[in-house]
């Protein structure tokens, strides 16, 4: 079910009515049951049978965690339980997400070797949100295994943690230790919470429906022509910038709506974006972009690999592995791996140059120059992310570097207008970070929400699905 549908609005209104009538403290059992029911309905709306996949993952992790705490800390059986949980989760993720890619790649390799052996291709519909809820569920068992979290005995709460509908499909990826404790915490209804939630929701819908969807029309129309050589360099560059903001508005829009909805329902979800295009280093970019994923990768992949404790080269290798796997997490395709590879390589170079802390202590000119390099590096990586395959991405970049100067098509220039709102948001964020302006107050937020609400009615773009739904 998409956030941008009347069906969802109806579902949410029913749940919110439940919050007003039977869940005024948020901790009431009937209210939790209603949330669970709504979350299952929300998920089943995609492919009802896939609710079983979600339930399987949840049941395995629930029992694995409960059994784990009964065993001594360093016992082999405890490790075995963790391994079983990880294999089950990664197995499901691998089957649904990567089996088709793997069989296709094997077929290609065999073809290149002259062994035209028949390798069947798997065309499986991806269970929506599987990459997100699998990571959430896995983080729970790992935290219990590490002794950082006491497992919950209440299956309902654990299930709701995995399938809480505002963030089920595209995050933010919430940790159990940040969410489960919220069940016991009363959160009374208040106008302050309502306003804060409403602001986030309006902001999210504005970013998605007005900015991302209008930009998407232009990007979808011209992208293929771009890598096929039908556009000049300025048009290609502008198109790449448009996509970089489209994906920001799309994903940040979703996250913002999710946080707002959760707020209204009495829960808090973590921040997922913090003005990513203000990043002054690649490391800083990952502290601002899809924050919950980069933190997950840090805690459950980078650190177990050894982090930065195994010497310089080990650190760099770990960084590269994490980013490559991060790229693969986005989708089973080589262009996503290249996207991750570019970020990994950039992080490695940055660390070698000692610029990972935004060039602190370096001359101002160098810091500014590196910030510009970072933004262009991120842009180049987005080109591969959006292109259908790697060679299309390289052709696109070659087109930009060809420097054949001519005016871009009017439609691309026109779409550039929709860059203004996210740019203004970034500038406002910069002013706050630098202390030039105070954090936006209630009145400023109310005015902005009013204007964004009007824009939702007068400037909405054509319907298009959230980009991260496919991951």
């Amino acid at each position: 079910m998409s956030f941008i549908s009347y069906t969802f609005v109806a579902l949410f209104l029913v749940v919110y009515a439940g919050r007003l009538l039977i869940g005024r403290r948020k901790t009431e059992t009937p209210y939790v049951a209603l949330l669970l029911l709504a979350s299952c309905a929300f998920y089943a709306w995609h492919v009802p049978a896939y609710l079983l996949v979600l339930l399987t993952s949840t049941v395995i992790d629930y029992f694995a965690a409960l059994w784990m705490v009964r065993l001594p800390e360093r016992s082999a059986r405890r490790r075995l339980l963790l391994a079983a949980s990880l294999v089950a989760n990664l197995g499901m993720l691998g089957f649904f997400k990567y089996a088709g890619f793997a069989t296709e790649s094997i077929g290609r390799v065999l073809g290149l070797l002259g062994l035209g052996l028949p390798v069947g291709t798997l065309d499986v519909v991806l269970p929506i949100g599987i990459s997100f809820y699998t990571f959430q569920s896995m983080s729970y068992t790992v935290d219990v295994y590490r002794g950082q979290l006491q497992p919950t005995r209440d299956f309902t709460r654990f299930l709701l943690y995995v399938c809480f509908f505002p963030q089920l499909v595209a995050g933010p990826i919430v940790r159990a230790r940040d969410f489960l404790y919220q069940f016991a915490r009363r959160r009374q209804l208040s106008l302050q919470t309502f306003n804060a939630g409403l602001y986030l929701i309006v902001r999210g819908y504005f970013l998605k429906v007005v900015c991302a969807n209008n930009i998407a029309v232009c990007v979808d129309r011209y992208w293929d022509a771009g890598w096929q050589g039908a556009l000049n360099s300025p048009a290609l560059l502008l198109l790449a910038i448009l996509f970089s903001f489209q994906i920001f508005c799309d994903f940040e829009g979703y996250s913002s709506i999710a946080r707002g909805l959760a707020n209204l329902l009495g829960f808090r979800l973590p921040l997922n974006f913090n003005n990513p295009y203000l990043a002054t280093s690649f490391k800083n970019f990952w502290q601002r972009w899809h924050i919950t994923l980069s933190q997950w990768l840090r805690d459950y992949l980078y650190l177990p690999l050894g982090g930065n404790r195994g010497g310089r080269w080990r650190t760099l290798t770990n960084l590269m592995i994490v980013m490559l796997l991060g790229g693969l997490w986005h989708g089973a395709a080589f262009h996503f791996i290249v996207w991750g590879g570019i970020h990994g390589a950039a992080l490695v170079v940055e660390r070698l140059l000692g610029l990972e802390r935004a060039g602190a202590g370096r001359p101002r000119a160098l810091r500014i120059a590196w910030a510009v390099v970072v933004q262009f590096g991120v842009l180049a990586a987005w080109i591969f992310f959006r292109s259908p395959w790697v060679s299309a991405g390289t052709a696109f970049i070659r087109g930009i570097l060809a420097c054949d100067l001519a005016a871009p098509p009017t439609e691309i220039l026109w779409a550039g207008l929709f860059l203004l709102p996210p740019l203004l948001m970034h500038l406002r964020g910069l002013a706050t970070e630098r202390g030039w302006l105070p954090k936006s107050g209630r009145v400023e937020q109310a005015l902005a929400a009013g204007v964004m609400g009007a824009a939702l009615i007068t400037c909405y773009g054509p319907d298009s699905a959230f980009i991260y739904f496919q991951f």
């Binding site: 549908s5 009347y6 106008l191 009145v443 109310a446 929400a449 609400g453 009007a454 007068t458």
Partner: protein, 373 residues
């Protein structure tokens, strides 16, 4: 002192409690004020938008969704409003009357949006009524090709006598992404999506009477609103008028790909399994090559009905204008009649010899040959 009191938190001093209450009250007032400011800002922005549209020359720029009135009566249902609803209606049989008519059709006409724009109901109705035949136009927009209509034919076990296909890029053995999402849906979701889109249309129709949609107005984007007939599947196309552009159909030689031929053969086999015969046509367009369709017809051994006409025009660079569509359909039906007459004569001849027809009549090959040269 009662025991309960000792277990409770000590009561706050009276002055602190009063201060806290005052703070809470003032916070509440601030929140209420900011909510009102938001609502007022939104209302003012909408009011200003409406005035800027209605009181300036911009009012000349029309919005299809607000201008077009839904057709009177119950014959039509909303088929397209930036989203193809008819995929859901026809695949899931959401409209009983449309499904009945589809099942009863002797002739099915399939193809893309170019076909749907060409097959206007006036000519078709008079012609088929005169022949005592029923027909249904089962074409789709949204880049739809062969697999989706084939899925409908199989789902409802349709057994028309003839299927006429607009061969313009039709045979690829693929579902569009949109059709894939439709096929994967379940009946409740399909029904909800349909009603949701109808509601969306009604809401936008009401809102955009007085509040502009600046994106459409500024870009002067051509908008279509399409209703579909329950009786014969034809589209009633409502659009903000655009410029008519003349064109000459492509005439160069173009080979058909093995994939296209394989897909077409598969489609033909499916039809044969339903006791149905295939006829190809080719609705003219600026990037349509009738010779390609002729080659395909020859390869499949089926007739191609393609009336060659001059001075055709499109309304948007792709679809025929109503005038051109009327001329095309009249000529198409004449040729179709001629083919059926020859086919009937041949069938009678075969029936006299008590032989079951197993191959297409000679007229078929003659038709294809005429076009090939």
């Amino acid at each position: 002192m009662p025991l309960g009191a000792t277990l409770c938190e000590p009561p706050a001093p009276p002055r602190a409690a009063a201060t806290a209450a005052r703070c809470a009250g003032s916070r509440q007032r601030r929140e209420r004020r900011s909510l009102l400011i938001g609502i007022a800002a939104c209302t003012l922005a909408l009011l200003a938008s409406g005035l800027a549209w209605k009181l300036t020359p911009l009012r000349e720029r029309r919005l299809a969704v607000a201008d077009v009135r839904p057709p009177a009566g119950h014959e039509h249902y909303l088929a397209y409003d930036g989203f193809a609803l008819d995929h859901y209606v026809l695949y899931f049989g959401l409209d009983q009357r449309a499904t009945q008519r589809l099942r009863a059709a002797d002739v099915l006409i399939l193809g893309n949006s170019r076909l749907m724009f060409a097959m206007r109901p006036d000519n078709l109705r008079a012609h088929f009524a005169g022949h005592g035949q029923s027909y249904y136009v089962l074409g789709f927009g949204h880049g739809e090709r062969d697999r989706f209509p084939r899925a409908i034919i199989e789902r409802f076990d349709l057994r028309p006598e003839w299927v006429v296909v607009n061969a313009d890029g039709f045979f690829v053995d693929e579902l569009s992404d949109f059709a894939r999402s439709v096929v994967q849906a379940f009946p409740l979701k399909a029904r909800a999506t349909y009603y949701e889109r109808c509601l969306d249309n009604a809401v936008r129709r009401a809102v955009h009477r007085c509040i502009p949609h600046w994106v459409s107005i500024a870009q002067q984007r051509r908008e279509y609103l399409i209703y579909r007939s329950r009786e014969d599947g034809t589209w009633l196309i409502e659009a903000v008028p655009g410029e008519h552009v003349g064109f000459t159909p492509q005439s160069g030689e173009q080979d058909i790909t093995p994939r296209e031929l394989a897909a077409a053969r598969q489609f033909q086999q499916t039809l044969a399994g339903h006791g149905t015969q295939l006829i190809l046509t080719c609705v003219p367009g600026p990037d349509v090559n009738p010779r390609r369709a002729a080659r395909l017809a020859a390869a499949l051994g089926v007739p191609l009905i393609y009336p060659e006409l001059d001075n055709l025009a499109t309304c948007d660079g792709s679809h025929l204008t109503p005038d051109s569509a009327t001329r095309f359909v009249s000529a198409f039906l004449r040729e179709l009649d001629a083919f059926w007459a020859s086919h009937a004569a041949w069938a009678d001849e075969v029936a006299c010899e008590s032989v079951r027809p197993e191959r297409a009549p000679r007229a078929t090959a003659a038709h294809s040959r005429r076009l090939r040269h």
